[in-house]
Amino acid sequence: MSAAPKHEQYDVVVIGAGPAGLAATTATARAGLSTLLLDENAGPGGQVWRAIGATPVKNEALLGADYWSGAEIARAARDSGAEIIHRATVWSLDRNLELGVSVGGGSAFIKAKRVIIATGAQERPFPIPGWTLPGVMTAGAAQTMLKSSGLVPDGPTVLAGQGPLLWLLAAQILRLGGRIDRVLDTTPRANYLAALPHAFAFMTSLYFVKGLAMMREVRAKVKVTTGVTELAAAGTDRLESVSYVTAGGRRERLPVELLLLHHGVVPNVNLAMAAGVEHRWNELQLCWTPVLDADGNSSIPGITIAGDGAGIGGAQAALWRGRIAAERAIKALRPTAKVSDLSPQLKRAERGRTFLDVLFRPAKQFRIPDGDTIVCRCEEITAKDVLDSVAIGATGPNQLKAYRRTGMGPCQGRLCGLTVTELMAEARGKSPQEIGYYRLRAPVKPIMLSELASLPKSDEATKAVVRG
């Protein structure tokens, strides 16, 4: 499956094989457009349907019906006539719709008439004291292990944070016989009140019944502490305990070997930003989202964005956004083609989202750390370091690079970018929009020097080049 692309030019290149990418691919390929789907995982599904064709977890009830619905979507894409390449890393996209992609140790350049970015979401950074200790990991990483390998925690384990995915993961771990000692729910009490006006839409949405059932399922087996604040991980060489303050104001400490952190997902913006797509700060979802029209068209002609990368909407919304982006591409390249209006379906899929956004808006103390808490893991820069740099003249994330090299390590800002923006905004009394974000650059994912050069691999061949 990991052969290089067959052609240098395609009508449509779709990046990412999650719900949005699979749906978009199916639609454009069926409409007769030459379609290439590039995905960096071993198989289709993205994060929500990770390993959908290959998971060792065969009992369907364990991962839930939503998970298995992905199989049908993936099958449709496979049979659509599109060229699909997995283990392909798109490391560059520019405003001329030229893509740099790595496949099987070599690189290729591809030109597209339309690009649909469906690179989905990533977990929001959760910078608490001790979050870099071995033994602390993101819930998403734990879920990847669970879906790909059927692995679940068996030592003392605490899940901390908030949001639908936290409860989903808890339920999945328990169903697979894994161990969870405690769930620490960090949802701020005030959020319940704020979310109330949106509750009706939520109660009539797709999420409500499923969400409630899942939370009940977890609560039946695990003690849940709500209204948690001042969460901290501690240990000398690795995680030994988790401490927190309860809603009643009592500080408690739990001995633990594994702490899984999660407080929501945010759009994965790196590729779109590096291409030059305009983004704006989204104050409700507390993240950067691309500026898009109703069809998902970005500020760069020919680039549309679908799925959670367009703003968090969940898997069902992603499917419809993928289809809408595809229709837009079909209409652009085949002006006589008949396309239908899918906005009612999208609207229905998005129902209840505002309630979730408001309810699970993470508290400031878990987004904007202070003191010695690490902000940038790559360069080990603390919140205090960032504030010290602000005090001597660093005005935004890009200037901060000159002082502290934040955002310049291997993660390319994925683990510190939002924190740095909000931290600097607060310190300078400005909005995150005014403070801005790192200017992101290709390669969006590191590539081998040898790949870029596409050079001969054997020593014999190399010597011949040097002497010649």
């Binding site: 740099g100 030059g276 200037q399 690079k401 000159a402 020097l449 050069a453 050079l455």
Partner: protein
């Protein structure tokens, strides 16, 4: 509101910031106007080479003057700017290139310059053990080195502000004009007025000069750079190839910066560049061929900074040929970073004393007076 100052500097690159700092040291109170922020373009994102090596003869005196300042940079700006002096080496890959090197060094010696030194293959191998064995020698400039560009430009900006310069960032200098014997520049709702105007606007310098009746042949370019993941320490000096577009240096943390002048497509009005990966692939191939240790490295980031390149590849530096009180300091053509500290010092002398001991005559805008510009950016 009109604010009177001693000098107006347009452009917050290393040059504008250095001139602001040196004017403050001379007792003047300048204002520096920067449309983005100090070091946003070429001055903040260049390769950081502090190089006297392989310069045009016309700018060598300025480069030597600057080198003296670099060697005690912390005394000037309270920050060592990450400056390290491990020399810069120009590598000849064959006998013909070595012959050209020999000729170059002889020419410089005849002119009284001794900073470039011819080296044989043994000395080349001593300085750069990792270089391919087929290379017969080259040139070394031993006092050269490298610094961190954004940190350096920021340090100059900060020190200038501490010494009393007004720094206006994020605002465009507009409506540049001379009225009642004073230069006037609008910045938002404010107008700054001063007897002195310094055009240090980098890629935008050509537009300003043209707007004031001094068009020059200049283009906007964006030289590309890329940086790798850390590899084991293998090189100290900055290395430049004589015959190919490649320069590179290894930082203390093991990362390697690869440059050499392949160009991206600049979009000056958007503040953007579109990288040319096919050209970067050529650089990657050259590194792969010459330095086996680099073969396992990964490319972490690539970028390009927007700057001005003169038709004759040397800067426009010194007083205007037309207007009293106007000074130009732009067009450094991909090699202005090292010159920044010295150019600011010399510019302050020109402004305050009306002259300088440093020989800069050949850099004057006078040289374009009767030329018709081929391209004006």
């Amino acid at each position: 509101m009109t604010i009177n100052t001693d000098a107006i500097i347009v452009g917050g690159g290393i040059h504008g910031c250095s001139t602001a700092l040196h004017l403050c040291l001379a007792g003047l109170k300048p204002v520096l106007i920067e449309k983005d922020y100090a070091g946003r373009h070429a001055s903040g994102v260049n390769a950081g080479g502090v190089r006297q090596l392989a310069r045009d003869v016309a700018e060598i005196p300025l480069s030597i003057r600057s080198m003296g300042i670099w060697e005690s940079i912390a005394a000037l700006v309270d920050d060592d700017c990450g400056f390290e002096s491990h020399g810069q080496v120009l590598v000849a890959e064959n006998a013909a290139e070595l012959a050209a090197c020999r000729e170059r060094v002889a020419d410089l010696n005849a002119r009284g310059f001794s900073h470039e030194e011819l080296i044989d293959s043994a000395e080349l191998r001593r300085l750069v053990p990792a270089v391919a064995e087929s290379c017969p020698g080259g040139i070394v400039s031993r006092r050269d080195g490298a610094a961190q560009p954004a940190r350096t430009t920021t340090a100059f900006r900060r020190k200038a502000e501490q010494l009393g310069a007004i720094i206006r960032e994020g605002v465009t200098a507009s409506n540049i004009r001379k009225e009642d014997r004073l230069w006037r520049v609008d910045v938002g709702d404010d107008t700054y007025a001063a007897p002195i105007l310094v055009n240090a606007a980098g890629a935008w310098g050509g537009r300003i000069a043209a707007g004031l009746g001094e068009p020059v042949p200049v283009t906007t370019v964006a030289p590309m750079l890329m940086i790798t993941s850390p590899v084991p320490h293998f090189i100290d000096p900055v290395v430049i190839l004589r015959g190919r577009k490649l320069s590179f240096k290894q930082f203390k943390n093991g990362t390697v910066l690869i440059g050499g002048g392949h160009l991206a497509a600049p979009d000056q009005d958007r503040n953007e560049t579109v990288l040319d990966w096919r050209s970067l692939a050529i650089s990657a191939r050259t590194v792969f061929e010459l330095f086996p240790v680099m073969r396992s490295a990964t490319i972490m980031r690539a970028w390009a900074g927007i700057e001005a390149r003169m038709q004759d590849d040397i800067p426009v530096f010194g007083p205007s040929a037309v207007h009293e009180g106007l000074f130009h300091q732009f067009g450094f053509s991909l090699h202005g970073f090292q010159l920044g500290p010295g150019a600011g010092a010399v510019m302050a002398e020109l402004i305050v004393h009306g002259g300088t001991q440093t020989r800069i005559g050949e850099l004057s805008i006078e040289r374009f007076r009767n030329a018709s510009p081929s391209a004006t950016a």
